[in-house]
């Protein structure tokens, strides 16, 4: 006996069809909506299925498509039985249906239904009665269909995932955004329990919201997102208004929003650290200036053979390391403006490798183009970035191995997928043979505090990234688990000649009168003594106003200053930034050198724009002071 399933939401239609088909000798099953039909089809395979198009809980069109994708139902004949067929041409082929019957009076329907069953052919059969127009309200049906289509267009276009659940929490509708967010097809979603798509912890939250829906709309996941298909979502639950119980869900993909919030928090944290570090660095560098200055003076009073001389050299090195540490903190936390000059990279690479790679089991190969372009960088910062990459490579190979460093000229066009402007760059690659970085960790390796090492600070690669970015270059990483990691840095090539090497001639003799303006007495004292040792006459001012007055007085008394060294920031008085302008009004040829512990201050990197002729970063050694004074005084004299 052939088995027939009739799916229709009106009991009179079901009753009529049951009677008709039973009498004709068929076994009849009935279902009142799409969802009940799907349940029934899990346990039986009918020969023919009659499907109404407009039904609650999964409509006829969707049901046809779902059934057609079920392998066991390939041979089942699908017959659409709907009033809609009177109003529009139903595309049976698109729905996977074999025939279509328009609902008219029962007498007419009887003929059509039996006709289709008896013909047994899979051909489109359109059975329309003589008085179709009178039997079915054409206009209303058109309106109904038109409204439905408008709604569908809207639902398919919205950025949120929209789902409808029946009273038992099963999915009976999902729009395309919902399918994208959940990463599943309509066939996989419809009929399934919504809650089962979530991990255990989130299941409780979803179930809780569904249970509370009687009290009104519920929202979960806004603060602590729900996870699904590797996305973070928030879900709004709206109780259905109507005669049936159910829930409409609005699922919002908030992955990007949460990421931005995280980045904002990160930026705020960095800002706070930066402010703190900036304040500490200023005081710290003043203290270091006194230490470094006194040590370098003490060295000059001793012979190199003295036992104490070697100790002072070590003390000076340590003090300079303390300076570097302050600089590093400032560089990454406040994005310190680099003090750029044309630098030859091979020497820098050699130096970095010597400083970092102390483990004999780790070998290092450096290759550079013969005609490698110089790069326009802050040598200290770039060394720091490269050293951090080398440390990372070394840690990736605890048992030893080979680190390959290469430097190659590259002309970048706008078409290449690198976040840098078109132009000439030097590409530096650092490759190791370590264990590599897992794919899921690659996007995070430059994040502050991200580390996979037990002892890692999580700042090394962040600093490298920040430095390279501040140089208008870029850094990228390639890695394969088990094979190793390669970091590629792109640094802008220098347009100017290589910067002259800053070698201080020890014991060089300066001549002239220097005005030192600094609010710290200890700094004034040590700088004064250093200048005297170098052969200069020195006068002092504790802040800008006094310095300007002294300078003007010196001009009037026919004994002008040859140069002025000014502290950039004076907490309770006029600082160097403001004083230099007024000084230049008095004497446009004034040679003013800016000195500051705020090495990341833009004034320090663009000192010439503010009217300064030279820069000396605190703390400085006697040879640093000597060099900058000679450059500034001689440059003026040669002009």
């Amino acid at each position: 006996m052939k088995k027939i399933l009739v799916i229709d939401n009106h009991p009179v239609i079901l009753k009529f069809m049951s009677g008709l088909l039973s009498k004709a000798g068929y076994e009849v099953l009935t279902a009142e909506d799409g969802l009940s039909a799907l349940d029934l089809l899990q346990t039986c395979i009918p020969d023919v299925i009659f499907i109404d198009l407009i039904m609650p809980n999964i409509d006829g069109k969707k049901l046809c498509r779902i059934i057609r994708r079920m392998p066991d139902f390939e041979r089942v004949r699908l017959v659409i039985l709907s009033g809609v067929a009177l109003e529009e041409e139903i595309d049976c082929a698109a729905l996977g249906a074999d025939a279509c019957i328009a609902k008219r009076t029962f007498k007419e329907m009887e003929e059509s239904v039996l006709g289709v069953l008896e013909s047994g052919e899979s051909a489109l059969v359109r059975h329309a009665g003589k008085n179709g127009g009178a039997m079915w309200p054409r206009q209303i049906t058109r309106e109904l269909l038109s409204d439905k289509r408008h709604l569908e267009v809207i639902l398919e276009s919205v950025a949120e995932g929209i789902l409808e659940l029946n009273a038992k929490g099963r999915i009976i509708y999902c729009n395309s955004t919902a399918r994208t967010i959940m990463g599943l097809s309509e066939e996989d979603l419809l009929g399934g329990q919504f809650v089962e798509h979530f991990a255990h912890a989130d299941q409780e939250r979803v179930t809780g919201a569904l249970q509370r829906i009687g009290a009104g709309p519920q929202t979960i996941g806004e603060d602590s997102p729900i996870r699904i298909n590797e996305k973070q979502v928030s879900i709004r639950f709206l109780p259905m208004i109507g005669s049936v119980f159910g829930t409409i869900l609005i699922v919002s993909d908030i992955t990007d929003k949460k990421l931005m919030e995280l980045q904002l928090q990160q930026a705020q944290k960095m800002e706070a650290i930066g402010l703190l570090a900036g304040g500490i660095a200023h005081d710290f560098n003043n203290i270091l200036t006194a230490i470094v200055g006194n040590v370098s003076l003490a060295k000059m009073y001793l012979k190199k053979e003295d036992k104490a001389y070697a100790k002072l050299v070590e003390a000076e090195k340590s003090a300079m390391r303390a300076r570097d540490l302050t600089l590093q903190l400032l560089t990454f936390s406040r994005g310190g403006a680099p003090l750029k000059k044309a630098v030859s990279l091979p020497e820098v690479l050699q130096e970095c490798s010597r400083n970092i790679l102390k483990d004999p089991a780790v070998k290092c190969e450096i290759r550079a183009d013969d005609n490698l372009w110089p790069v326009d960088v802050d040598e200290g910062q770039i060394s720091h970035a490269i050293q951090n990459l080398l440390k990372n490579s070394q840690h990736a190979m605890p048992g030893g191995g080979l680190i390959q460093i290469s430097a190659t000229n590259r002309s970048i066009t706008g078409k290449q997928e690198l976040p840098v402007a078109a132009g000439k760059y030097v590409e530096v690659t650092v490759s190791d043979q370590g264990e590599g970085i897992a794919r899921e960790n690659l996007p995070k390796i430059f994040d502050p505090y991200f580390t996979t090492k037990h002892k890692g600070s999580g700042l090394g690669l962040t600093i490298a990234y920040s430095i390279v970015k501040n140089h208008k270059g870029c850094i990228r990483v390639e890695s394969e688990l088990g094979k190793g990691t390669t970091f590629c840095l792109y640094l802008p090539a220098a347009l100017s000649e290589l910067g002259k090497a800053a070698t201080a001639e020890s014991g060089s003799q300066g001549r002239g009168k220097i005005l030192v303006m600094d609010d710290e007495e200890v700094v004034r004292e040590v700088v004064g003594e250093m200048l005297e040792v170098l052969g200069y006459q020195v006068e002092f001012a504790a802040e800008g106003e006094t310095a300007i007055r002294r300078y003007a007085e010196a001009i009037d008394s026919q004994g002008p200053f040859d140069a002025v060294i000014m502290d950039l920031i004076v907490p309770d008085g006029l600082g160097g930034k403001e004083a230099v302008g007024r000084l230049l009004q008095i004497d446009p040829a004034a040679k003013v050198i800016v000195s500051s512990g705020y090495s990341e201050d833009p004034v320090m990197s663009e000192a010439h724009c503010y009217g300064f002729k030279g820069v000396v970063s605190k703390p400085f050694r006697i040879e640093d002071l000597d060099r900058v004074l000679q450059e500034v005084i001689n440059a003026g004299n040669n002009a």
Binding site: V12, I13, K15, W136
Partner: protein
């Protein structure tokens, strides 16, 4: 209303029609109740669903006038208008009562 003639016109025997009409009356009275709720609470969307339901079955059973009235209610409700609804509802109830009366008459004339 002569149900015997109607049964003949629809191709049913009287007992079959009887069963269908009983079900129709039962379903339609429930839908009518929903329509009243829709009017009381001013919920056009509920009125659309309920009027659409009675209308379809009425047409299949050949109750064209009843179907036309529900068509008007549905059409108005779709335009968010329930103004003329209450009068029409009375008239729908009257039509259903007529069917109920016809069914009763059938009972009284049926051989014991």
């Amino acid at each position: 209303m002569n149900l015997t003639d109607k049964a003949r016109a629809l191709g049913f025997d009287p007992a079959e029609l009887r069963e269908l009409l009983d079900l129709f009356v039962e379903t339609s009275l429930a839908d009518l109740q929903t329509l009243h709720t829709a009017l009381d609470q001013n919920r056009p969307e509920l009125a659309v669903i309920a009027s659409h339901s009675i209308k379809g079955a009425a047409r299949s059973l050949g109750f064209d006038e009843l179907s036309a009235k529900l068509e008007t209610i549905e059409s108005n409700a779709r335009r968010n208008s329930l103004v003329a609804g209450r009068e029409l509802l009375e008239s729908v109830r009257a039509e259903i009562d007529t069917i109920v009366q016809a069914l009763k008459k059938l009972d009284s004339t049926a051989p014991a």
